[in-house]
Amino acid sequence: MSHPSPSVHDHGTSHDAGHETMHAAHGSLRSYLTGFVLAAILTIIPFWLVMGHVIASPQTTILIVLGLAAVQIVVHMIYFLHLDTKSENGWNMLAFMFTVVLVVIVLGASIWVMYNENANMMPMSPQYIHHKQGA
C-alpha cells in the first residue's frame, strides 16, 4: 500500500524511496558528537558522585544516579538510535512507548510487591516467635 506505482510517488522507484527512508534514519556527525559529549558528561557525574563520596546521604546519591541514567537513556535514544515520531510512520515510537509502559509495570510492580513481602515477612523478631509459641 505504501508502495504505489512510481507515477503516484514523487520519489520515483521504490528503491529510491527506501534510500530516502534510510537516509533519514542515520544522523549527522554533529548529532553523534553532541550525543557523545552529553553521554560522557552524564556518565562522569554519577561515577564522580559515587567514587568521590560527594554526597553524604546514600539515598540522595542513588536518586541522582538513577535520574541521570534516565536522562542518558533519552540522550542515547535521540542521538544514537534516532528515535523520533516520524520514523516508520510513527510505529517505532508507538512500539517504544508500549515497551516503556510494560517495563515500568514489570519493574515497579516487582519492586513494590517484593518490598512489601520483605517488610512483612522477613524479620522473624523474637516477639513474633514468642507470640507463635504462646498461641
Binding site: 505504501s2 508502495h3 534514519a25 556527525l29 559515587v50 516508520e88 510505529w91 519493574l107
Partner: protein, 208 residues
Amino acid sequence: MNTVAIDTAPAEPRKFLCLEEAHPHNGTLLGFWLYLMSDCFIFASLFACNAVLGTSYAGGPSGHDVFDLTGLAVNTALLLISSVTFGFAMLEMARQRKRAMLGWLAVSGLLAAVFVGLEIHEFVTMIAEGAGPGRSAFLSSFFTLVGTHGLHVTVGILWLIVLMVQLGKHGLTEANRRRLFCLSMFWHFLDLVWIGVFSYVYLVGVLR
C-alpha cells in the same frame, strides 16, 4: 428456455488494484526494532530480579566488596566510544566510502572485544575470590544480568565480523546496507542497556 444466461466467452482477466503486498518501506528495520523492544523485556525482567534480590547477600560479599569501579569506568568508556565509532561507520556508509566505513567498523568491534575481555576477566576474578554466581541470590542475579548483556555484545561482535566479510565481498549493496542498519541499532541498544547496568547494578549496588 433461457440459454442466454450462460456466457461461454473467456472471462476478462481480473484486475487488482494492489499488485504488491502491503508493507512499509524497510519493514525489516521496523521488525528489528520490535525485536529490540522484546529484548528490552528480557533485560527488564533481569533488572527486576536484581532489584528484588540485590540485597540478599546470604552472609556473602556485597556489591561494595566485589565491584571494581575503576574497571567499570573503563568498560563504560569502551562501550560508549564503540557506539560513537559505529555511528561514524554509518556516516561513511552514507557517503559510499567503503574503506573508511570498514575501518570504523573494525575499531568498534575491537573496542567491544576489549569490553568483553575485561568483563570475562572480572567474572573470573570474582569467581576465584569465592563470589561466584552460586554464592548468593545477589550474585546469581548479578551474573545473569551482566552475563546476558555480555553475551549480547559477543553475538554482536560475531555478527559484525560476518557482516564485514560480506561487505568486503559484495560491497555496499541494498541488502548489506539494511543489515548494517539493523546491527547499528543492536549496537546502540546494547550501549543503552549498559547505562542501566552501570548505574543501577554497579553504582547503586555499591551504595545499598
